[in-house]
């Protein structure tokens, strides 16, 4: 799976895979690989939504502190 995966990429990849699998000409020997890939994409989305993947949170934690302290001063 590519490293810089996003929700958008994951979703469109997943759609594509499901369409391919729904196509009657799918070869049985490629099915397993495609299903595996699709399941990985689903898991990626589910995990990221719940922060299990964690890059969203840790990435902006620093920013939260930095901007808020500045904002507080400015706001008063």
């Amino acid at each position: 799976m590519p490293k810089e995966l996003t929700y958008n990429k994951a979703f469109s990849e997943l759609e594509k895979l499901v369409e391919q699998i729904e196509d009657d000409t799918i070869q049985l020997d490629t099915l397993a690989a495609k299903v595996k890939e699709a399941n990985e994409l689903i898991l990626y989305c589910e995990d990221k939504l719940r922060g299990i993947e964690n890059d969203v949170k840790s990435g902006s934690a620093k920013l939260t502190r930095g901007v808020s302290s500045k904002a507080k001063k400015k706001g008063k």
Partner: protein, 430 residues
């Protein structure tokens, strides 16, 4: 040279008498004397001073005679507003301006029994009763020897202020559309802006929150996000500022600028504030703030606590009324995404089940076919296999009279020699 002497102090000859114009002040009436004439000078050489309180009393009497029992409706700007909530009094000035200079300024006061007029005003107009706004009010004129001239305000014409607010609002909206034709359009009564037409990210997780520190709005918004039943994770970056009052629009603009400086880090901006009757609508009617919101490159959700009214800023963004509703709509948005993932997952599983089931059936068919076609099965039905020297003969050309052949039946082999060979005329009957 003329001077005055008080009635009763002397009764001079040849002195011009000025009759009192007001009977009330008869005891204070004066003679006018020509003090440059020697005779007059002899009679009244010095001006006669009276006590200040006497003069004040005279003024009071005069004022009362003119204004007692009468009220006036006046339109004026209010300034120097001082509200004393505990004693329910409000002191202020009513001002009229001529361009930049003040041409009239009178002190006014709301006494406790009229203080509810201010509360009613704030509730109905969604505006703070504060310096700079124009009101129409009913006043009584009052003079007090110690406190001077005051107007007692007994009623505010809320409809007038609502009218001016609406007029002001229409002007601001027209200006927004006229001066930002690319980013703000009025289509069938709705304001279509660059910001409220920005596509939302497929999932919203990184939120810039503009709100007042330690406010209900801040708490409600964060609680709703944190306690979402789906267990979604969010990262909320707070941009805290005062969100009510005279320069709130300026402070909110500053926070938006800070968000803009970090715009890659956010999926959306939430501007929220708690409700309550004392909320002030004015900052969200500001032209500059509305313009910035309309042009902002990250989708903005507003939840500024007005259930019935919509501010101009609301119209430029995506309006969700309350902080809780903003949070709920973010959660709902992500839920929709998860739903579409779940749908795809179901489609995938169904299809895989179908493919596998199909493959299984195909194999079963093949197995059956193979079984039916097996020699053992055929021989059960009375067919035989002919071999010559253990080789199965398919083509009868290889069999000639006197050839030794083996006839393989299900259970037995017959060894025989061919005596005669001819064409099978009954072939089609088999």
């Amino acid at each position: 040279m003329w001077g005055y002497i008080k009635v009763g102090s002397c009764n001079p000859e040849g002195v011009e008498y000025r009759p009192p114009t007001n009977p009330i002040s008869a005891k204070l009436c004066y003679y006018k004397v020509n003090i440059s004439q020697p005779k007059s000078l002899y009679i009244c050489p010095m001006p006669q001073a009276i006590k200040l309180s006497e003069l004040a009393y005279e003024i009071q009497e005069t004022m009362e005679a003119r204004f007692e029992g009468e009220t006036f409706w006046v339109t004026a700007e209010i300034s120097d507003v001082k509200k004393y909530i505990s004693t329910r009094r409000c002191y202020l000035k009513l001002v009229e301006r001529d361009g930049n200079s003040t041409n009239t300024e009178l002190r006014a006061v709301f006494w406790a029994n009229y203080y509810n007029e201010i509360e009613l005003f704030e509730k109905k107009t969604k505006q703070n009763f504060a310096d700079g706004i124009e009101i129409t009010c009913e006043v009584k004129v009052r003079f007090h020897p110690k406190y001077g001239l005051n107007l007692d305000v007994i009623k505010i014409d809320v409809a007038y202020t609502l009218g001016t607010i609406e007029l002001e609002r229409q002007k601001t909206l027209e200006k927004l559309v006229q001066e930002n034709p690319k980013h703000i359009k009025l289509v069938e009564g709705n304001y279509i802006t660059y910001n409220n037409r920005l596509p939302l990210p497929i999932v919203i997780q990184r939120v810039a929150l503009i709100t007042a520190p330690n406010s209900d709005g801040q708490r409600d918004f964060k609680q709703e996000l944190e306690k979402n039943k789906h267990g979604y994770a969010f990262s909320v970056t707070e941009f805290l500022t005062q969100i009510q009052g005279d320069n709130a629009h300026q402070l909110i603009l500053e926070q938006l600028q800070l968000v803009y400086n970090n715009k890659e880090n956010f999926d959306m901006v939430a501007i929220v504030r708690g409700g309550g009757s004392q909320t002030d609508f004015k900052p969200f009617e500001d032209y500059e703030l509305a313009k910035t919101v309309a042009n902002f490159p990250i989708p903005i959700y507003t939840g500024i606590g007005h259930d019935r009214n919509t501010s101009i800023v609301d119209m430029m963004a995506r309006e969700h009324k309350t902080p809780t509703k903003v949070a709920a709509s973010i959660i709902e948005h992500n839920f929709e995404f998860e739903n579409s993932i779940i749908e795809l997952k179901e489609r995938l599983n169904q299809q895989v089940d179908y493919i596998l089931e199909n493959a299984k059936e195909n194999i079963q068919d093949l197995k059956r076919l193979v079984k039916l076609a097996s020699p053992a099965n055929i021989m059960k039905k009375g067919f035989a296999i002919i071999t010559i020297k253990d080789k199965i003969i398919i083509d009868p050309k290889n069999i000639q009279p006197h050839t030794e052949i083996d006839i393989l039946l299900q259970d037995q082999i017959i060894y025989t020699t061919v005596t005669k060979k001819e064409k099978n005329a009954q072939r089609t009957n088999l």
